[in-house]
């Protein structure tokens, strides 16, 4: 029996020795995980990759690995845990603090072309100690899409937006009564925050948040503007008066059979504001080809390629953030809309809430907010309950 044990141990050791990491020389192949499976997106990504390979003969393959957006981060971390980490990965804004602070990503500032022209509000989330750990390749402000066949008077305030869409549906496509962070596109208009700037204080029990959520609750159950829990209404199919969504969704309106326009988010009691969703690309430190991957990332995000990517993913380079450049790649959106929603949005916007340990916060807040989505909910009490639940998570060092 002891000889058998020795044999097994030896076999296991041999297996682990094979997976030890060391820098590779010679031909390399790179793999980047992405959450898009959109053919137009992948075509553009592959074009950029081919161009890079042409000038870098040592890179034999650059593969874009599509993972469904639903569960993307879970799949990515499972790959990392299984010793099968990609070389590069798209990262959602909500997982940014976890990825940046954990040391999973390699520094990339030195590889980014003209790093000093990146808009500071957009890079903030991806920096630590003055170093950049992922390139914010898509910074997409939230706007209000309006179906002009159903709504004649364009709303300027949230009150007007809800009044105009009563019984006609004001949808938040990604919310689904789960992804509560999407609601920040509304509550920022009331000056509310999920948590304080340093992430230590809970913001859900603030008066601003209670007022904002009372408004949302009323819009759902009294005004019947926002579709209730469990009901799905598709704006992009023409079934809703308005939708709060990111401008990168405008592509879905290419063949729309109805009239539509794009407005900045309506004003709340606190006036004008903007909220942005973000995505970065980072290089996994554990990649055997981290250097080559960072080099490709530099090429992928240089000015010339940022212009190409701008048709799907709004850029964060100051030199490209003008209506003229954006109009070339966004034929669906008018220059004045690009100015008011995209350019102003990116410069003054705040990114959707994110925090270290985001996924645990997400689930805890989702569960604590569930009692709110009933007609007779006590808004103040539910929100105080949210703070009670997440306090230990926020205070965790």
């Amino acid at each position: 029996m002891s000889r058998l044990t020795a044999l097994i141990v030896a076999a296991l050791l041999a297996l682990t020795a094979c997976s030890g990491s060391s820098a590779q020389s010679g031909p390399k192949s790179l793999r980047m995980t992405v959450w898009t499976a959109n053919e137009a997106h992948l075509k553009l990504l592959n074009e950029i990759a081919s161009e890079y390979k042409a000038s870098h003969p040592d890179i034999t393959e650059i593969k874009f690995d599509s993972i469904p957006a639903d569960g993307y981060t879970t799949t990515l971390t499972t790959q990392i845990a299984g010793g099968n980490a990609p070389d590069l990965a798209w990262i959602l804004e909500e997982s940014a603090p976890d990825f940046v602070s954990s040391g999973a990503l390699a520094p990339i500032k030195g590889k980014v072309e003209k790093a000093d022209e990146l808009v500071p509000s957009a890079t903030k989330l991806w920096e630590k100690d003055g170093e950049l750990y992922a390139y914010p390749f898509s910074t997409s402000p939230f706007g209000l899409f309006v179906n002009t066949d159903l709504v004649k008077d364009l709303p300027k305030t949230w009150e007007q937006a809800v009044a105009a869409s009563a019984g006609k549906n004001l949808v938040l496509p990604d919310f689904k009564y789960q992804n509560w962070a999407v609601l920040s596109a509304i509550w920022r208009g009331w000056g509310a925050n999920a948590w304080s700037e340093d992430g230590k204080q809970c913001g859900f029990s603030s008066q601003e948040m209670k007022d904002a959520m009372t408004f949302v609750h009323k819009a759902i159950f009294t005004d019947k503007a926002i579709p209730g829990p469990g009901t799905t209404v598709d704006f992009f199919a023409g079934n809703a008066a308005m939708a709060v969504s990111q401008i990168s969704r405008a592509g879905a309106l290419k063949d729309a059979k109805f009239g539509w326009t794009l407005l900045p988010l309506p004003q709340g009691p606190k006036g004008d504001y903007a909220v942005i969703g973000q995505a970065g690309v980072g290089v996994l430190k554990r990649s055997k080809n981290a250097d080559a991957a960072a080099d490709f990332l530099g090429f992928f995000t240089n000015s010339a390629n940022s212009v190409k990517l701008a048709q799907f993913f709004p850029p964060v380079r100051q030199s490209l953030l003008n209506a003229e450049t954006l109009a070339k790649s966004n034929p669906l959106i008018k220059p004045e809309q690009l100015q008011s929603v995209v350019i102003d949005g990116i410069s003054k916007g705040v990114v959707k809430p994110s925090h270290q340990g985001q996924e645990e916060l997400n689930q805890t807040i989702r569960a604590a907010l569930d009692p709110l989505w009933k007609p007779d909910a006590n808004v103040g009490q539910v929100l105080d309950g949210v703070c009670a639940k997440i306090k230990p998570l926020l205070e965790r060092p």
């Binding site: 879970t74 954990s102 999973a104 209730g228 469990g230 009901t231 996924e359 645990e360 604590a368 569930d370």
Partner: protein
Amino acid sequence: MTFWTYRRRDNLVGYLFVAPALLGSLAFVLVPLGMVGWYSLNEWNVLGGTFEFIGGENYARLLADEKLRDSLVATAWFAAGLVVLNLSLALLLAVLLNQKLRGTTLFRTLFFSPVLVSLVAWTLVWQLMLQPEGSVNGLLGVFRVDGPNWLRGETTAMVSVVVVQVIKNVGLNMVLFLAALQGVPAPLYEAAKIDGAGAWRRFRSITIPLISPTILLTSIITIVGSLQVFAQIAVLTQGGPGTSTTVLIYYLYQQAFQFHHFGYGATISVLLFVIVAALTLLQWQMRRKWVLHES
């Protein structure tokens, strides 16, 4: 004397025959099982790439975890609801379909067919049917009943998950019961009838004792299965509303794969393993009390 005695050669052949199965279970069952135990003693930060031995800390956390307590309560409700509903419905159907009536073959096929349907497809269809404006409430509307928002109420969500799972799997237990019922010798019933026993008396004193080994088998399978239900929860409720349907295995998934606490996740799976083992052992011990031929 040669080394290859008859006896040794015989042994070698025997070992070679069991080797494939033994190596398979070693590589895919025992080694992973041991690794789960080892992970549970470590703090494993997947993103940072750190793996640190922390001894019993994860187990101390297990005891202090309030969410785990909620999850155990949800698991108990789920398992109890599932076992009671599944077994009684399966037995009822089996007894009904054991009658010599027209059309029983058709009904047997109908009740068994959900077992063959892909689990996720089955659950997704039910998700649509359970929407506020879905077909379940549509059907209730015919009888002028105003159906609830099934998946959004704490109790109704749990009931929905249990019922969806019971309808999916009741056919399997039904077939097992049916086979057992057909193995009960007819002369026993005849003799009982002559002695003046009614239908209920015959069922209680002949049927139940004679099919008790099958009752034991189905209850073990169903309880163990109920503790491993994952896809239905992931698709229908994601553990909500609140944490009302966060059963143990879904909580384990959240901790390990969503919150990146792989070490703690492994600790929860050790707990799950212990619970399943204890329940199975308990039932196995109890069989002497109520299974015929086992005293």
